[in-house]
């Protein structure tokens, strides 16, 4: 059976999803401040890394990487509510793109599995 990443459409799906996801982040005042960098190209690259990871794609991140990547955000107050918002938008984008509910749930589970690392717990 095809992997989650393949079922979602692989790199092509990441390419379509990444702009929609980033647009949602910037438009949601709960999380926008964390993504509001002048350097939008760099932010897009990070969002791409995020999506590749939670789509179950070929991204080799460790828990330690996730801690490091988000440590400066935790010091700015990153909490469970923000993670929930990110997962909510992730689901929204995947639904727009026609992903199956079971696959959306699997993506959410991957994101949830690193929650403690992202929040430095």
């Amino acid at each position: 059976m095809a992997s989650l990443y393949e079922r979602l459409g692989g790199e092509a799906a990441v390419n379509v999803a990444v702009e929609r996801f980033y647009r949602r982040m910037l438009s949601d005042e709960r999380v926008a401040d964390y993504f509001d960098s002048v350097d939008m190209d760099r932010q897009m690259a990070k969002q791409r890394a995020f999506l590749t990871m939670v789509f179950g794609g070929p991204a080799n991140y460790s828990g330690k990487d996730m801690r490091t990547a988000h440590a400066h955000l935790v010091s700015r107050g990153l909490n469970d509510g923000h993670v929930d918002a990110v997962i909510e938008h992730l689901g929204g984008v995947l639904k727009e793109l026609g992903a199956a509910d079971a696959d959306i749930a699997e993506v959410a589970a991957i994101a949830n599995s690193v929650r403690d690392h992202v929040l430095s717990r």
Binding site: E19, Y22, R23, L26, S27, D36, V38, D39, M40, D41, R42, M44, A45
Partner: protein, 320 residues
């Protein structure tokens, strides 16, 4: 500590340092301006070693293929082999032929180009003063024009802008590097609308793109938003007056402080640009001018639905 090579020379630098910082620290004088990956002053070529995508953002495919990279965005690493960016970079000498002063703070300059330098409208040239001071400027002219046209705003106490607006005599020679940048029209898109937003002297490349679209027989609407502080600050180069008869062009002046300019409005350029995008949502968008406004425009138009791949911005990030 990683060791990399500049031509034949081995240079050691702490991990995480950019190649630009490491080269400057080692006394290799390569040009730089924004140090943020925007101006392409610091272009080098990597013939071996690791070049992350961030060090090639905004470069054209042919430049990437040659291994060109932005030294300010290129982390040093073992095995990295760097050389100057190559023969295309140093273009030759421009000779100042004519200077107009449409407003007290703006100069429109015409230069005769060195042989072989034919920048596209919207590209950048780095002008280099005799003392080595280097600054990027955007091109308002077309390759077939006799002269290269640049618009320069005189920045208070600005070194290069004062030279260009005031002190350089007609006949002055300035070295140039370039052309750089991808704020240019795409081939085969004559049926795609354009949204051009020029803030202050950011008008220069936008006017160039509008003229280029006219020249290429664009069949879709070309919206040109010209923004400035007030009506006096909006200047109208002769090329713009001539173009205003072209039915595809919608010229929309916007000023922050009233009274409204003829045919235009008082308001925030970001709101005007969002409305224009709503009229032609499929437009390719080009933005140029002072960095804070252009960065705000870019973010707002992205959120309003423009794809980053169709959103080209040249913010005038000052040299640090």
């Amino acid at each position: 500590m990683p060791t990399f090579h500049w031509e034949d020379r081995a240079i050691e630098a702490p991990a995480g340092m950019s190649a630009l910082e490491a080269l400057l620290a080692a006394g290799v004088l390569i040009p730089s301006a924004c140090r943020a990956g925007a101006c392409q002053s610091c272009l080098v070529r990597a013939s071996a070693g690791t070049v992350p995508p961030a060090a090639q953002l905004g470069l054209k495919d042919d430049q990437r293929a040659r291994g060109e990279a932005l030294a300010c965005r290129l982390p040093v690493s073992d095995g990295l082999q760097l050389t100057p960016a190559g023969p295309s970079a140093l273009a030759g000498e421009l000779v100042l032929q004519r200077r107009l002063r449409p407003t007290p703070t703006v100069a429109v300059l015409y230069f005769s180009p060195p042989p072989g330098l034919r920048p596209l409208a919207g590209q950048l040239l780095h002008l280099i003063r005799e003392d080595g001071l280097s600054r990027p400027y955007s091109v308002a002219s077309l390759p077939e024009d006799e002269h290269i046209e640049l618009h320069v705003r005189q920045v208070p106490n600005g070194q290069m802008s004062t030279t260009l607006c005031d002190t350089a005599p007609i006949g002055a020679r300035l070295k140039a590097r370039g052309p750089f940048g991808d704020c240019t029209l795409r081939d085969g898109e004559q049926d795609r609308p354009l949204l051009l937003v020029g803030v202050g002297t950011g008008l220069a490349p936008m006017l160039g793109l509008a003229r280029d679209a006219h020249h290429r027989g664009w069949r879709a609407p070309v919206t040109l938003i010209q923004a400035g502080l007030n009506a006096e600050a909006l200047y109208t180069p002769e090329t713009l007056s001539r173009l205003s008869a072209w039915p595809m062009l919608r010229w929309r002046p916007v000023v922050l402080q009233g009274p409204a300019p003829e045919g235009g409005e008082v308001g925030d350029v970001v709101e005007a640009a969002k409305r224009a995008l709503a009229e032609t949502p499929e437009a390719r968008v080009y933005l140029c001018g002072d960095a804070p406004v252009v960065n705000r425009l870019r973010r707002a138009l992205f959120i309003a639905g423009a794809s980053l791949s169709a959103l080209h911005a040249d913010p005038f990030t000052p040299t640090t």
